[in-house]
């Protein structure tokens, strides 16, 4: 196999290929769900609760039903027998409390934005008009907004559960046998750093609002949805609604971004199926942006209580993590599993001798949280990278020196971590050295010193973060050991057509990552066919009959490997046919560059000739089935562990609190690179999202549980004017756990950039007495942190969620 191309080879892997996907997207010939319609299609409109927690005392839909064009209006009681409960596939503990989650609320609402009735009308305008005519009375109940208040159980989101705690999940290195006792380590250490860090709520904010079209005509139900998970969705919908799985076809056509936000079985999907079944007509629902912000799941939302102990020389001796995780009002598809995924990453790239992790999943009266880019791992990396900086500050050491002191050295791989993972390969030294070189660390430190000495109102901050993540979710048996409801394998089929063209079916379901291009490159190399002759098919359960879809940077590491496995089976079959065609022994057949040759002769046949022979089937060897295709599933043996070093410099105006990012350098090691162009795109986009958490974005609820940042006016997704250009580079330490050597890249930028930025902001103002700044580091927050430190008041930002003051 040819892996990388540094010379004049024709290898596709490693080549900067422009994307196949672009042609339709740059000309407007896209195929997003909302761009589709069916004859006789009806449109749905959702009536959503304006209040966070209340009994529904009256729900009158008669005027809406009589409104022009309205076919029906459905309420929770109407659907009580048919809607089931939305699935949670990850019961992390046997005693996890999970309230029933109706798609349409039945007699009580538990978050603002919850659906209380559904209008089915001939046109979208008629649906909108009728929504206004639905009359609902709410009898308010106490609202639980703050996570720390939720923990105290003074008011309950679900009184019948008797508590706001859904589950408590614990990992302890002493009892797991992977390390020492953390309390002992803390007691025996020279320094202990204690901090409470806040992971604000974020909204994934995919650009394409969620849209669903269901056609129940014929004897099958066909669904198109802007989803990341058509296969999981089909299985879960059939389990929830009792539709035979074989009668349900789910297609994810072009999907306008997901970032975890479309890794969900949504109430809207369930409702659209039910509406289509009831009316017998195609039904479509497309959310507005405001509905998306309040009704599609959020991410992050954790309080992290941390204790890090170390010796005077900077050697870390133990880490104790106590986490509060905001589940919102219900458990999403994988929500409770997200802090658990994070648990494996708090030790990051370091050799910690003792570690304990405990997370409490809590209910609040807010939309539920679930996967968002990195899911658990960004939160963990943020915590440890902030703590390493605090340790460095406490000991007066350079932040990189503290990291070097504790990290796993290149020659120590494979390495068993204290959380029980086996890191296969890594080279933190190489990535860091390269990043330092690109960054110009020494000069920037000198400038920082000058600005400090001259009391410049604009201070310079240098932020550092080093990270690893676990990609390639996941070995199925590991997921099983963590009580996840499904496996982590992936499926592929490779078909060589009689014309010699190749069709590849994959169970992964891309939404912007460029898989059609990257997978074509893998197959072109493996089968020795031209890139343009490979067609990738995906995102349709009738085409890709099996699959576990796209999330957690698993597409290449797991999906790509399934494609390789299927291609190898095709080659093996073709070899038997080729030997027969060439009247040679199979042992003498060699396959190279798309051709089967007889060793030591110039005789041979091309793959396409074999495919034609297999298609015609006039003369196949005994026991060989017609047609040249094969399928395979691949279950990884291990996760993959990309890593990297990120460095940034920013100016912080101490008079206004304004943070201006000046330079951002990152060097990521993602193993073998299939296509540098796709990698750069993923890294740059990931950086933008991680930086956005550090500086701009927050889902803010007021005390009544109303989403204050309910539009793109208040929820600040950064624009081009808010971000600089990035300097991105890579080092390559191939993964040893898969033959391609790939590690995954989708989440790297997001994971590493958030702590790098916050560390940088603090680095700029720490000498003013500031010990912490809460995210997002908006001008008012930073200004207040500086001001409070100077005035001798507590440096910790107030413990209440308030609307961002700098919007006005």
């Amino acid at each position: 196999m040819s892996v990388t191309s540094d010379s004049e080879t024709t290898a596709e892997i490693g080549r900067r290929r422009l994307r196949k996907e672009d042609a339709r997207l740059i000309t407007g010939r896209n195929h997003y769900t909302d761009s589709m319609s069916r004859v006789g299609m009806l449109t749905l409109g959702m009536v959503r609760s304006p209040v966070a927690h209340a009994k529904i005392t009256r729900l009158d839909v008669s005027a809406a039903k009589a409104s022009p064009g309205v076919v029906d209006v459905l309420t929770g009681p109407d659907l009580a027998d048919s809607q089931g409960s939305l699935p949670n596939a990850w019961p992390v503990t046997p005693d996890q409390k999970a309230p029933a989650h109706p798609a349409v609320a039945i007699d009580e609402v538990v978050f603002a934005g919850e659906i209380v009735a559904v209008v089915i009308a001939r046109t979208a305008a008629q649906a909108r008009d009728a929504i206004e005519l639905v009359d609902v009375d709410y009898d308010d109940l106490p609202v639980v907004v703050d996570l720390e208040a939720a923990e105290r159980d003074e008011e309950l989101v679900h009184p019948d559960l008797g508590t706001n705690t859904s589950s408590v999940w614990v990992f302890d290195s002493a009892s797991a046998g992977t390390g020492g006792d953390v309390q002992q380590a803390i007691a025996d250490s020279d320094v202990v750093i204690e901090r409470t860090l806040y992971q604000q709520r974020l909204i994934p904010s995919f650009m394409e609002p969620r849209s669903i079209l269901v056609d129940p005509t014929g004897d099958r139900i066909e669904m198109w949805s802007a989803t990341q998970i058509p296969h999981i969705l089909r299985t879960m919908l059939s389990m929830t609604l009792g539709i035979p799985e074989g009668k349900l076809r789910v297609t994810a056509p072009d999907v306008g971004g997901g970032f975890g936000g479309k890794l969900e079985v949504t109430p809207e999907e369930v409702i659209t199926v039910l509406a289509a079944q009831r009316t017998g007509k195609p039904c479509k629902y497309t959310e507005t942006r405001s509905e998306s912000l309040m009704g599609a799941h959020h991410g992050r939302a954790q309080v992290q209580r941390l204790k890090l102990s170390a010796n005077k020389d900077g050697t870390v001796t133990g880490l104790d993590v106590r986490l509060l995780a905001d589940m919102g009002a219900y458990l999403g598809l994988v929500g409770p599993g997200i802090p658990v995924l994070g648990a494996f990453m708090y030790n990051a790239i370091y050799k910690f001798p003792a570690y304990r992790f405990e997370s409490k999943a809590l209910f609040t009266d807010k939309v539920w949280t679930d996967a968002y880019r990195g899911a658990g791992r960004p939160e963990a990396t943020f915590a440890i990278e902030r703590m390493m900086d605090e340790l460095a500050a406490e000991l007066g050491m350079d932040p990189l020196e503290v990291r070097r002191k504790n990290w796993i050295k290149h020659d120590e791989f494979p390495f068993s971590t204290i959380s029980g993972l086996e890191y296969d390969s890594g080279n933190y030294e190489a990535a860091t050295d390269k990043a330092l070189e690109l960054f110009g660390y020494e000069e920037l430190r000198a400038e920082q010193q000058r600005r400090r000495e001259s009391n410049d109102p604009v201070q310079l901050g240098i932020g550092v973060s080093t990270y690893t993540e676990m990609c390639g979710l996941a070995p199925s048996r590991v997921l099983g050991s963590l009580d996840y409801g499904a496996g982590g394998w992936e499926y592929a089929q490779v078909r060589v057509l009689p014309t010699g063209h190749v069709e590849v079916v994959t169970g992964i379901s891309p939404h912007g990552q460029g898989h059609e291009t990257g997978f074509s490159q893998i197959v072109a190399d493996r089968l020795g066919v031209p890139f343009d002759n490979v067609e990738i098919l995906h995102g349709d359960t009738q085409v890709a009959q099996r699959g576990l879809d796209t999330y957690g940077s698993r597409s290449l590491t797991v999906g790509g490997m399934a494609v390789v496995a299927a291609a190898d089976k095709v080659i093996a079959k073709a070899k038997v046919i080729a030997a027969h065609m060439l009247e040679a022994s199979e042992d003498d057949i060699e396959f190279e560059s798309g051709r089967f040759g007889v060793r030591g002769t110039d005789q041979g046949v091309a793959l396409g000739d074999v495919a034609l022979a297999a298609f015609a089937a006039h003369d196949l060897p005994d026991g060989i089935e017609a047609s040249l295709d094969s399928d395979a599933t691949f279950d990884p043996e291990n996760f993959s562990f990309p890593h990297g070093s990120h460095l940034c410099a920013m100016e912080v105006d101490t008079e206004t609190g304004q943070v201006t990012l000046r330079k951002y350098v990152c060097v990521d090691d993602i193993g073998t690179i299939i296509n540098p162009l796709l990698v750069e795109g993923q890294v740059q986009g990931g950086l933008a999202q991680g930086i956005a958490q550090a500086l701009f974005e927050e889902a803010v609820y007021d005390d009544a549980g109303t989403l204050v940042s309910g539009s793109f006016v208040d929820y600040l997704v950064p624009s081009a004017a808010d971000l600089p250009s990035f300097i991105t580079d890579t080092t390559t330490t191939p993964a040893t756990s898969n033959v391609l050597g790939v590690k995954g890249v989708g989440e790297a930028g997001t994971i590493a950039s958030t702590p790098a930025i916050v560390n940088g902001v603090l680095d700029a103002i720490r000498h003013l007495g500031v010990k912490d700044v809460r995210m997002p580091c908006s001008p008012s927050t930073v200004w207040a942190a500086i001001h409070d430190a100077g005035s001798g008041a507590t440096a910790e930002a107030p413990n209440v969620q308030t609307a961002r003051g700098d919007q006005s």
Binding site: I26, M207, G256, G257, F259, S290, G512, G681
Partner: protein
């Protein structure tokens, strides 16, 4: 709600259309739902995301902010009318070559805004491009590749 329909006549991507529409029908709905021009997308309801950007008499407008009746008598160009005689517009070509898109949802609007930006300022600096695209959000790319594409398309203009 009963409303009197009004007749609108406009040129869209070079063809003339005349239709009776409700006064409240947004231009983007008219383009997508009545004319089937689904290349223009909708990302928000607050005129913030720019996904719906089209050209009205050569200048960029957010088609979710205008009623179809306001475009009466005007000329509209959408992303679907940008390529001429099978040749991509230089901005489209540059978006492809610089990988200025991932999921593609913001892309029609980004391209239209970039075309309008370059019409007004054929040689924008990186900073001018960034501020010129401020009203268009992209969640996938981090903007760097978009800025590079617009720069490149501007350079392309030089040689023509």
């Amino acid at each position: 709600m009963t409303t009197t329909k009004q007749t609108v006549t406009m040129t869209v991507d070079g063809a003339q259309y005349s239709d009776d529409v409700e006064p409240r029908l947004l231009l983007v709905q008219y383009l997508r739902e009545r004319l089937g021009k689904t290349g223009t997308t909708v990302g928000c309801d607050t005129t913030n995301c720019g996904a719906c950007t089209v050209l009205l008499d050569g200048e960029s407008v957010k088609s979710c902010t205008m009623f179809a009746v306001q475009a009466d008598g005007h000329e509209v160009v959408t992303v679907e009318g940008l390529a001429q005689n099978g040749e991509l517009h230089p901005v489209q070509q540059a978006f492809h070559e610089h990988a200025a898109l991932q999921c593609g949802y913001c892309t029609s609007g980004m391209i239209m805004q970039s075309v309008s930006l370059l019409n007004e300022n054929p040689h924008p600096s990186q900073e001018e491009i960034r501020s010129g695209l401020e009203g268009n959000l992209c969640r996938c790319t981090g903007y760097q590749s978009i800025v590079e594409a617009v720069s490149a398309a501007a350079g392309e203009g030089d040689t023509q």
